[in-house]
Symmetry: C2
Subunit: 132 residues, 2 copies
């Protein structure tokens, strides 16, 4: 199995459920953004057996902790995740409530001039809100 190794190396047992969720998340041409609800529907469509909602939450959080998923800060009642874990930025279409990737090349260099004592920059993310 394609993801068995990856999971083992992360200290996660390669269970049937996790492997199936890996397929849904990572066996795609393109990366994508999703909420837990959207992922849950996607799994139902692509997989024959049922995976409980609790397991989906558990797995998404486990994968996020391991760096295989990223949470996107956005004002919504649902949490958004991203299978694209490279540094990149986002458009947010307010009407459609959809995220669009902004490649790093799509944004000029970002210069953060201020420093905070004793703190390091972990990430720099731009959110560009779009209206009609």
């Amino acid at each position: 199995m394609k993801y068995t190794e990856k999971l083992r190396n992360s200290g996660l047992r390669p269970t049937k459920q996790r492997l199936q969720i890996c397929e849904v998340l990572f066996d795609t041409e393109k990366t994508f953004h999703f909420t837990i609800n959207e992922l849950s529907l996607k799994i139902k469509k692509q997989i024959d057996n049922k995976i409980s909602l609790a397991t989906i939450y558990n797995t998404v959080h486990a994968f996020e902790k391991k760096g295989y998923l990223k949470q996107i800060p956005i004002n919504s009642n649902e949490t958004y995740f991203d299978t694209n874990v490279c540094d990149h930025h986002h458009f947010y279409d307010l009407k459609k409530e959809k995220l669009i990737d902004l490649e790093n090349a799509d944004v000029g260099p970002i210069d953060i001039k201020r420093k905070i004592d004793g703190k390091k920059i972990k990430s720099v993310e731009i959110l560009v809100k779009l209206e009609d």
Copy 2:
């Protein structure tokens, strides 16, 4: 009263509760970031009568719609608001779970090269996550 005019001009009746919330939000040296829960505690401390939680939610949303408050996109179970409605960016101290304003002068010019057909840019916000 200081805020009566401002509320009337916005089509909001200057009620006792709204005027008191205005004082808590806007009668300060510096702007600040808050969650509804934090604001609720602040109101309890600063004013003698009780304002119901529903009114605090209603008022904050009304003020946000009128542009007197801004919501800050951040990954938290609580919504963060900002009394600083000028364009600006944020540090987010992951340990303390606190936002810190980044003045526009603290950030070099931002160049968004990509365009989306039929969409206008409404805002561009940077979130800089800080770790130890």
